[in-house]
């Protein structure tokens, strides 16, 4: 099971969709259901569906029977919309109003006087994204942890509706800033699937290059930030300096440090010229990085804080829907680039890094191995880069639909795209990797301790923007 979502094929007809992986099939299976009244919850069978169903409840007003956690997820308590926001009858451009109310928190058994409650956020220390974390703790020990997200819910999926397809790329790039390429790519591929559009080989290779450049600066940032939480100051500075170098390469290649404004439906918006300079620059970066990585792996104070911290076992990872490096650090060998290849990934050899330990160190090691693999992949793509056009024409037939995916630096990302009778976007559903991993993360926090929390959170490499949308 990958995700579930709802949409309105007609203003008065609602449909539920489930996207599933079918064994040894390249394409994903799609299950449909037209609810007439409440729908049985699947969260008891596939725990990862829990959040998907709660989101559908909040935004579409569908009731799921026997849901194990029948609480709001996306909309906060104190918000009482006259209709669910995705209802076609919801008055356009009417912003929700939030009454400042306390969120109902599940009760914790035991002597109340002993358990302390720490609500932290949504405005937290440092330059970070907004989200509120609630800790129930005794001294150093965390009994229970409850992240309260979706403060940043911008209703991005709704913003796509009514737009022509090409306009959607600008939006997709801005769903999660540090995942601009992954989002734009999954979106473009969804539209290309709907329009039966074949992308020219040169553009396919460039798409791989861009996606891997994105992985590179994200993972370098991750390593620097992880050092920040283990208070390895020079390690932090070195990691973030490498990230800065990677971002500057991005700007030199595409004009954007986040690799924006280059992808489009059917290929790329303009040709790029990496010839002669990008290869050597990447090699120089790789050399600097490998020295850095070697030192990190030889620093006991750093490793002591990572090893055994935030352990996620394979079973929980699978059931709760962990994805990306988090998933692969818990022994699950899954990667969309290899298992469901897109762009030019089918033509390039890819080593997928898997670790078994499931702790913060394993998550860091997976990302470190991915940096090496990424650079090797980019060098290969530069070498094999074919000549030719970079963009092909496409036309959208009315009422068509498509599914697109990409393996973002943080894991699997899906875009489901539906067009209306005029060939405009009728519904765009985004399943971001952080939506999956935020659901998994608390399982590693309960029964841990305060000192490890920040390290554990950093080791997951989560974004809130991607999750909240």
């Amino acid at each position: 099971m990958q995700m579930g979502y709802a949409w309105y094929p007609e203003p008065n007809r609602l449909e539920l969709r489930y996207v599933v992986t079918e064994p040894d099939q390249y394409l994903f299976g799609i299950w449909r259901c037209e609810p007439r009244g409440p729908v049985p919850s699947l969260a008891g069978i596939w725990p990862l569906m829990g959040w998907h169903e709660r989101e559908i409840s909040d935004l579409f007003g569908i009731e799921f029977v026997d849901h194990p956690q029948p609480h709001r997820l996306v909309l906060h308590d104190g918000v009482n919309p006259i209709r669910p926001p995705f209802d076609p009858a919801y008055p356009q451009d009417t912003a929700l109003q939030a009454e400042p109310t306390k969120q109902s928190i599940p009760e914790i058994a035991g002597a109340e006087a002993d358990v302390q409650l720490l609500p932290f956020g949504p405005v937290r220390a440092d330059v970070v994204e907004s989200g509120e974390f609630i800790f129930f703790y005794i001294g150093e020990a965390i009994l229970h942890y409850h992240p309260r997200l979706f403060f940043k819910h911008r209703g991005m999926e709704k913003r796509f509706e009514g737009l022509p397809a090409e306009r959607g790329v600008v939006l997709a790039e801005r769903v999660s800033g540090v995942g601009s390429v992954a989002h734009a790519l999954a979106y473009c591929q969804a539209v290309e699937a709907a329009a039966n559009c074949a992308v020219p080989p040169r553009a396919q290779f460039f798409r791989v290059l861009l996606a891997e450049l994105e992985r590179l600066y994200n993972h370098l940032h991750y390593l620097g930030h992880l050092c920040h939480t283990t208070t390895l100051k020079v390690g932090e500075a070195e990691g973030k300096l490498l990230e800065e170098r990677a971002k500057q390469l991005n700007a030199r290649l595409t004009g954007s440090r986040f690799l924006r404004s280059i992808l489009t439906i059917g290929g790329l918006r303009r040709d790029l010229s990496p010839k002669g300079w990008l290869g050597p620059e990447l090699e120089a970066l790789r050399e600097a990085y490998s020295i850095y990585a070697r030192h990190l792996e030889n620093t006991d104070s750093h490793l002591d804080r990572l090893i055994t911290t935030g352990k996620l076992n394979r079973r929980v990872a699978f059931d709760q829907g962990a994805t990306g490096p988090v998933d692969r650090a818990s022994g699950l060998d899954r990667d969309l680039r290899r298992d469901h290849p897109y762009a030019a990934y089918g033509n390039l050899p890819l080593a997928v890094a898997v670790r078994e330990a499931g702790d913060a160190h394993a998550r860091a090691q997976v990302r470190m191995a991915e940096i090496d693999a990424s650079i090797a992949l980019m060098q290969r793509a530069l070498l094999l880069l074919p000549d030719g056009p970079i963009r092909s024409e496409y036309s959208i037939s009315p009422r068509s639909e498509g599914l697109g995916w990409s393996e973002s630096p943080r894991g699997t990302l899906f875009y489901a795209v539906h067009f209306d009778g005029e060939g405009k976007l009728a519904r765009v559903k985004i399943k971001s990797p952080s939506f999956s991993n935020w659901r998994v993360f608390p399982h590693t926090v309960h029964d841990s301790n305060m000192m490890d929390y920040a390290i554990n959170e950093a080791s997951f490499g989560l974004t809130i923007a991607g999750c909240d949308r």
Partner: protein
């Protein structure tokens, strides 16, 4: 640990001299706000306005003379679509990113440039070499945060300029806001502002915070800080790069001049 000290020393100073001295600022090749050349603009063409996803470029009726473009850089998300749509080069891609301004009107293109407002606020003077910033993410895409975090990397090393991020709004002089202000962040944002001691200032970073950006409106978002908080510095960009943020902060402190007036570069 001594090993890391050694590595740090071995690598030497990595910080760019800019903005304290001229030269390299790390933004080579970066595309900034498209530059508007009205003299090249074709009558009765509105390709750029049609291409613009955020209504940064709109057609304005001007009496019988017909229509002309209104270009508002406060709404620009730097997507470069107008530069590709324009048949005559009147919307040209440029490397101008230092778009931090004190007045919102200075982001709207106009014919005549007015004299810039120099350091109007005397109270700011005391903060010239020590400014403490509280950042609030009011629903950004994380792009702006990524660049704000970059300010503290060794390359930009914001500390050397006497500018610091602080954890508590109680210690903050400047509230730096990113994001279009979602319904759920409206109250926490106001609470943060209320917790700041006087004198206090507000800076809108990123097109979302200036005007709402791509997510503006809808059921969940507002129009940036418009009508929410009084803004002292506007910096559009999607996201603004670290050098643009440094420039805007230095401009706020009267340590660098404002580069843009009436939507145009002051030469």
């Amino acid at each position: 640990m001594p090993l890391w000290t050694l590595i740090g020393l071995w690598d030497g100073k990595q910080t760019v001299p800019w903005p304290l001295a001229d030269g390299e600022n790390g933004q080579t090749g970066l595309l900034g706000m498209p530059r508007y050349h009205p003299e090249l603009c074709k009558q009765d063409c509105q390709a750029c306005a049609d291409a613009c996803p955020t209504q940064a470029i709109t057609m304005k009726m001007t009496g019988e003379a017909g229509r002309r473009l209104k270009v508002d850089y406060g709404r620009c998300v730097v997507c470069q679509l107008c530069t590709e749509a324009c048949p005559t080069g009147a919307m040209a891609s440029s490397q101008e990113w230092a778009f931090g301004v004190r007045e919102r009107e200075d982001l709207v293109w106009r014919d005549r440039r007015t004299a810039g407002v120099a350091g109007d606020d005397k109270r700011r003077k005391a903060f010239r070499r020590s400014l403490h910033i509280r950042h609030v993410d009011a629903g950004s895409c994380n792009g702006c945060e990524s660049e704000l975090q970059a300010l503290n990397n060794p390359f930009y090393n914001l500390h050397r300029l006497g500018i610091f991020f602080t954890a508590s709004p109680r210690f903050a002089d400047l509230l730096l806001v990113t994001g279009p202000v979602t319904y759920a962040m409206l109250n926490p944002l106001r609470a943060t502002y209320d917790a700041m001691p006087e004198p206090r200032w507000v800076m809108a970073v990123g097109t979302c915070a200036v005007s709402g950006g791509v997510a503006e409106g809808g059921y969940s978002c507002g129009h940036g800080l418009e009508g929410v908080l009084p803004v002292d510095v506007y910096l559009p960009g999607c996201p603004p790069n670290p050098a643009a943020i440094i420039h805007a902060l230095m401009m706020f402190l009267n340590r660098m001049p404002q580069r843009v007036q009436g939507g145009q570069l002051v030469e």
